[in-house]
Symmetry: C2
Subunit: 322 residues, 2 copies
């Protein structure tokens, strides 16, 4: 279904900007003083509330992060809500309040919106679309093309927590664990490291499909590969334990408050120390490097001293985690 | 439900730009050379296809029009689709192709998008969100505040057709009638009349709630009223007949290719003649004027020579017409 949709989408939508399939479009011709980043995302997470967040917080953070990884500061957001008739007012209030609070904390203004109601049974409680506009300095040039052999791969902390938090909130496994979603707006942290603009080559938020999928998308059709060091990858004890119990690999689990930063080797330690000072970067780590061989692949040097290829996620994923 | 939602929305979203409750936000500080209009809308129309359009065409036209009535040229659009698992590929293809074609015709580029899939029974086939960015000259100042006594009210053709087309497509009434939705992107027509910028005071697309609701929103809390001339209001013979049969008032029916233009009296005929030259304005008419008494009301001078107050729509409306 998913690949089918992708095929249909790309068959009919052929614009030069869209075809990059980045999370945000970068519009260069509107303003002389800045580039404009523009993004959209619909949120259908089930359940609406989970440890560490809810669909409202998620819808602001996810869209803020899609703008931020382009090097832009998110400024304005739209919010469009589809509600199933009969939804309790208290739920709507909780979600709306959460959107408002998260946007205020992130310094983003909600400037336009829409509400639609569908009959009972025609939607699942509540869906949210947020679109956003951000601006970036014309000098900021991020992109896969800027990545070189020897560049370092940094992540801002523990991976996999969002997907597990949503899974636990569904109470399907009868497991008690206090894993909270990492759901966070990263524009502050990213703004801090953009002081090092010249050294940052590329950023991406590893959401659906996790770090493994994001890194594979980066090396796909490229002349370089990425080597990861398992012992450096930040995974919390609880997440590690639950993954072992359920047979999950944290590299494939969705995050909603993580950013992968690829930067020059010489600035990696500086960038890392800036990230570690931020509340959303305390557990930041340099987890890998860009290598010549093998090109187009992500290789994991395991704790046990061997190595394995980290493939793109194949097969079905947990539905409705964002 | 609807007013409840509005209450919740406005309780938590308090930004200066949002509180105007216009269909688009106007962002003045991003670019020195132009203002930016930003809007969002979710589309949940049922059925997906109706005479004269489908949810894809509707989602582009509706959003293009929300940008255009602010005086801006729509340039870039996002498109986010929520699909119910099991939806036939042919439907998805038809809708996606329709989005693509309508956007191309309107000269708008789809630059970013999102797809989400929910389980069967958790959405009704397909919902679309489109958000858009447009730019306008800094000199263009439209707004209720610019409206004066004596200004004229113009509309670009037959009213009520969209809502009836959707109603007929539901086949609930066992009525055969060839009423096609007026669904159209009005940026071309509006661009033409904006040559007369100084004379145009205000524009709005009379969608949900129709011309009656839009005009009531304009006069609400104002020191002026609007007087309409029933004999001037363009209603097609078929629509008139069906409205009489079903007990509908065309003034309250939704349009998706109409714009209400309020302009200076002295330029009204010029603007009308420009509109009539456009394919979407052939049946344009001056339908009323801004009057001093009674303030805050819309009055209809009927064909029969009497007059009546045209109230805001009260009570329930047909659900899911856009």
């Amino acid at each position: 279904m998913r690949s089918l949709i992708k095929d249909v989408f790309l068959k009919y939508f052929k614009g030069d900007i869209l075809k990059n399939l980045d999370d945000s479009a970068i519009l260069e011709n509107i303003s002389e003083k800045c580039n404009i980043s523009f993004t959209t995302d619909s949120y259908i997470v089930n359940p609406l509330v989970f440890l560490g967040g809810d669909i409202g917080k998620l819808s602001v953070c996810g869209t803020v992060n899609d703008i931020s990884v382009t090097g832009a500061s998110p400024l304005f957001m739209s919010c469009s809500i589809i509600v199933e008739e009969g939804l309790e007012t208290s739920v709507l209030q909780k979600v709306t309040s959460s959107i408002s609070k998260t946007a205020a904390q992130a310094g983003v203004e909600i400037v336009t919106g829409d509400f639609k109601v569908v009959e009972k049974g025609k939607a699942d409680s509540l869906f949210i679309n947020t679109s956003a506009i951000g601006i970036s300095d014309k000098n900021i040039r991020l992109g896969k093309k800027r990545i070189n052999i020897g560049d370092r791969v940094i992540i801002n902390g523990y991976i996999g927590d969002h997907e597990l938090a949503v899974l636990l909130a569904r109470k399907e496994f009868n497991i008690q664990a206090d894993i909270a979603s990492d759901c966070a707006a990263l524009n502050g942290l990213i703004g801090d490291i953009l002081q090092k603009t010249g050294s940052i080559k590329f950023m991406r938020d590893p959401t659906r499909g996790g770090v493994a999928t994001t890194l594979n998308e980066i090396v796909e059709n490229s002349s370089f590969g990425i080597r990861l060091y398992e012992k450096e990858i930040p995974v919390s004890q609880q997440t590690k334990a639950l993954c072992e119990m359920l047979g999950f690999d944290p590299l494939y689990l969705a995050n909603e408050g993580k950013v992968i930063v690829i930067c020059e080797k010489k600035s990696a330690e500086d960038i890392l120390s800036i990230m570690k000072k931020h509340r959303y970067g305390k557990h930041s780590k340099i987890i890998g490097e860009v290598v010549k061989d093998p090109p187009g692949k992500v290789i994991l040097n395991t704790v046990g001293g061997s190595y394995r290829v980290v493939e793109m996620l194949s097969g079905s994923q947990l539905p409705r985690i964002c």
